[in-house]
């Protein structure tokens, strides 16, 4: 399919071309408010083409049946307006062998997905609460190639299971949810664990207590870490560095964070839906250390950002059917890579063992409005969505009407401790983290 496209592009564009073709099939089931309500399938296929002509780069994408000549014409029209970029398409190189496709996930029938949902529902049902469950299975075929001879194709599978439990009592609305994602079909132990993490947090949330106030020790759960991670990952994108808006742009080689803080992007992690042997621009995937023991090591780049910054792509080109590639993370790993793969039969207690030393503090699982405003600057101030008070080493109840504020870069300089509960939250692997002196305000 894309070979023909590239053949035409090679003839008409003097600086080469690359293309991505992706076909995705998805099956989903949805339980709404405790009842199975819908089942669906989706099929989608499309191509994205990039050409370089007279030094200028152009893009065209389509899901329609567009003739190769026509798509190349559109990409050339786009290139005619573009600025010159010294973009070089990579040559063929060796690719890591990783398992991205799991028969069990690909072959699962609708009934299997429904049974998984029912099993999860059964574990979450409780008096006075309503449960939503959704299960989505995806299988994809991806092919990328360029006129410099590089090419790669792979099939992948992914299964996402998510559930949330709602409890409305008067005007108090409580929702506790979680999700498990993997490349393979989750076993019963994954569902049991998912239900247990939701139930534990729900149990602790039933009692409402007054919030603490002041500069306090705060434990952020793996899911609750987002306000602290977003500024750092945005600042480590080569694109932000190139624009001159990254606070970490000039800090390579410097000790910027606590010596126990390390950050890696790992596209080769087994069993993860974001893993892949090759990126969407034909660059072989490899591990990228971003921060090692508190020292900034490198930024992520796609081909264009790398060309502009006069460096090499790190294999982080991410590309949809429409629009041009952008730098994007795959699997972000916080902490030492050695932690990864540790499996607990049951979820560790909330807080990952970090609560014992806290006399008065907060455990934050979710904040409201994360990602709004000037994120890359590091300062954040958010009301809590789901947070618990810690008193004398114990969770005493859920806190409402409180706000948490701080600066991510400052807080990461002095970490009070990492928990023993590292897990995947979306595509991020992280434990709970104890940070000292976080502003907590009552409202």
């Amino acid at each position: 399919m894309i070979e023909r496209l590239l053949e035409v592009a090679r003839r008409r564009a003097d600086g080469g071309a690359d293309a991505l073709w992706r076909r995705v099939e998805r099956t989903s089931v949805a339980f709404e408010w405790g009842r199975l309500k819908a089942a669906g399938v989706a099929e989608e296929a499309g191509a994205n083409l990039r050409v370089r002509h007279r030094g200028r780069v152009g893009i065209a994408g389509t899901t329609a049946d567009v003739a190769p000549d026509e798509l190349v014409s559109r990409a050339l029209a786009s290139a005619a307006l573009g600025e010159e970029i010294e973009l070089a398409f990579p040559a063929r190189g060796p690719l890591a062998k990783i398992a991205t496709f799991f028969d069990r996930a690909a072959d699962a029938r609708l009934d299997d997905l429904i049974a998984m949902g029912r099993s999860l529902l059964g574990r979450l049902e409780r008096e006075g609460c309503q449960v939503n469950v959704s299960i989505e299975r995806e299988s994809a075929d991806v092919r990328v190639a360029n006129t410099a001879g590089a090419a790669g194709d792979y099939r992948s599978t992914g299964v996402a299971v998510s559930a949330d439990v709602w409890r409305i009592a008067g005007d108090d609305v409580l929702a506790v949810g979680d999700a498990a994602e993997g490349a393979d079909l989750p076993g019963d132990e994954v569902l049991a664990r998912l239900a247990a993490t939701i139930n534990t947090r729900l149990d602790h949330a039933l009692r409402i207590v007054g919030p603490p106030d002041g500069a306090l020790p705060v434990v952020f759960t793996p899911a609750g870490l987002s306000p602290l991670m977003l500024p750092v990952t945005q600042a480590l994108s080569g694109k932000a560095v190139l624009q001159g808006i990254s606070p970490l742009g000039a800090k390579v080689g410097e000790q910027v964070f606590d010596a126990r803080f390390s950050l890696t992007d790992d596209p080769l992690r087994a069993g993860r839906p974001s893993s892949r042997p090759i990126d969407d621009e034909c660059v072989a995937s490899r591990l990228t250390p971003l921060v090692e023991h508190g020292v900034v090591r490198r930024f992520i780049y796609d081909l264009e950002t790398a060309a502009r910054a006069k460096t090499q792509s790190t294999g982080h080109g991410e590309r949809g059917i429409f629009g041009k590639p952008v730098p994007g993370y795959t699997n972000i790993v916080v902490g030492d890579a050695g932690d990864v793969g540790a499996k607990h039969p049951l979820p560790p207690p909330l807080g990952g063992g970090l609560l014992a030393a806290i006399t008065d503090g907060l455990l934050v699982d979710e904040l409201i409005g994360v990602g709004q405003g000037n994120v890359i600057g590091g300062a954040f101030s958010h009301p809590v969505a789901l947070a618990y008070r810690i008193e004398r080493g114990e969770i005493t109840g859920r806190v409402k009407d409180a706000a948490v504020a701080g600066n991510a870069y400052e807080l990461w300089k002095r970490v009070g401790g990492f928990g023993n509960d590292a897990r995947w939250a979306g595509s991020r692997w992280a434990p709970s983290v104890l940070l000292e002196g976080v502003s907590v305000a009552r409202r």
């Binding site: 819908a38 089942a39 152009g58 065209a60 307006l81 429904i114 005007d171 059917i321 409005g369």
Partner: protein
């Protein structure tokens, strides 16, 4: 196409079947700083089938290859049968409609060369860059689309529409030493090329504001009387209240239903709120929703009392109410779900000055960088603010974050001015993975007697 879809419908063995097909042409041009980031043309097409067997669940299928139409109609039927729902899903009746509606294309963007679109946005980008040396970065985007839309269902509705949409957006980033501030302009209309001309003043204003914010102090956190400008008031009513009025949140959840009982008091008698999918020319406006129900103006709060909610055919039937034309899908990739269209706080009386006259110390919160509601709590980041001192607008302040509890805040709205306007912004609303759905919000200036402004939270 309608004939082809009707033939496919006739083969369906489900009790109810609907098919949507969309073909969308779009172009996008983006500048970052002085550099063209991209100029692309895209073509997207595909179909969506939803089927319902009596006693079954929804069977849905989406696809990009129209050759698969007949297969996917059958597949949706099978999926519906595979799911048993008790009590069964019912759909409120609507009269079948046949319509061939061409929305005002206002200068069809498909007839305009990509180079002209580039020139237009390059000029607006240049306006921002020219404001000051302090403007270190900009992001300026032009995006347009025309979507051809076909819809048929097995109850006799057949619709064909051409739906235009254009958006302009600009972000100006000002920097001095370690301080970075931004200003954001955004325009979105269900119109065409002509409406995108002569927009320089808006781009200039946001760049000037970004520079001015470099010198502005951070607002001092605390509780104040707060005036929301029409833009922030519109975002507030959409995010903080609008989502709760979507009936899919309440229809099968007894506790939520109780919380949102019609007749409950939500605010003082000055407060009137509605959603109008039929208001002309706005992004949330269409003649029909994605179930073939005509759009309408739906009252949600009248004189402080909850009087209505937004429905799909399914939620309306389940609650014994009437469909309101709010079942919307982002594209053929998605099922229709209950969504807002153009949501508003209705006009009050008096002027802005009447609102601030008796305020000794307050905050005038303007524009919105973002907002999120989680359950009954919300947090909005205003683009900028001004202090109100002794009944007058005073100095510019930054980092104005408005946070609070929905019920308490709605109840504290005590004065609404008579200066209503629609905020014709780009962007859109997100729900259940369907984002950005084009919506518009509108409001006059609104006063909240007392609200929490979090700038820096004192440690």
């Amino acid at each position: 196409m309608i004939d082809r879809l009707t033939t496919a419908l006739q083969r369906s063995r489900a009790d109810y079947t609907e098919i949507r097909v969309e073909r969308t042409w779009s172009t996008a041009v983006t500048f970052r700083g002085r550099r063209l980031e991209s100029a692309t043309a895209s073509e997207d097409q595909g179909g969506f089938v939803r089927a319902l067997h009596a006693g079954g669940g929804w069977g849905v299928a989406s696809f990009t290859s129209l050759d698969r139409l007949e297969t996917m109609v059958a597949r949706a039927g099978e999926l519906s049968r595979a799911v048993t729902v008790d009590p069964p899903i019912r759909l409120a009746d609507i009269p079948p409609r046949r319509a061939d509606a061409e929305l005002d294309l206002d200068g069809d963007v498909r007839g305009v060369a990509l180079a002209d679109k580039k020139r237009l946005i390059e000029a607006y980008n240049g306006v921002m860059l020219a404001v000051s040396d302090r403007i270190v970065d900009t992001l300026a985007s032009y995006r347009d689309e025309v979507s051809e839309y076909w819809y048929v269902n097995s109850q006799g509705t057949a619709l064909h529409e051409l739906r235009p949409e254009v958006t302009l957006s600009g972000t100006a980033v000002a920097r001095r030493d370690g301080t970075i501030e931004k200003g954001v302009e955004s325009i979105g209309l269900r119109r065409g090329w002509r409406s995108m001309q002569n927009r320089e003043p808006g781009f200039r204003a946001v760049a000037e504001r970004a520079v001015a914010l470099l010198d502005a102090p951070m607002v001092h956190g605390g509780t104040y009387p707060v005036i929301l400008d029409p833009e922030l008031a519109g975002v507030f009513i959409h995010e903080a209240f609008g989502h709760l009025s979507e009936a899919d949140f309440v229809y099968e959840n007894p506790q939520a239903r109780e919380m949102m009982t019609l007749g409950r008091r939500f605010g003082k008698p000055v407060l009137n709120v509605g959603d109008n999918g039929a208001a002309p020319g706005l992004r949330g406006t269409l003649p029909f929703d994605d179930e073939g129900t005509p759009t309408q103006d739906t009252a949600l709060i009248r004189e402080g009392i909850l009087v209505g909610r937004l429905h799909s055919r399914e939620t309306a039937a389940a609650m014994g109410e009437r469909p309101t034309g709010n079942a919307r899908a982002l594209s053929f990739r998605h099922p229709p779900i209950v969504r807002m269209t153009n949501t508003y706080i209705a006009n009050g009386t008096g002027t802005f000055d009447d609102l601030i006259r008796d305020i000794q110390l307050g905050v005038y919160a303007c524009g919105a960088f973002g907002g999120q509601t989680m359950l009954e709590n919300f947090s909005f980041t205003a683009a900028y603010g001004r202090m109100i001192r002794d009944g007058r607008v005073a100095e510019l302040v930054k980092d104005v974050v408005l946070a609070g509890n929905l019920f308490r805040t709605l109840d504290r709205i005590d004065h609404i001015a008579g200066d209503f306007r629609w905020n014709q912004m780009g962007g859109g609303c997100g729900k259940a993975g369907q984002v950005p759905l084009p919506v518009t919000e509108g409001a006059p200036h609104v006063r909240i007697e007392e609200a929490l402004i979090g700038g820096d939270v004192p440690g």
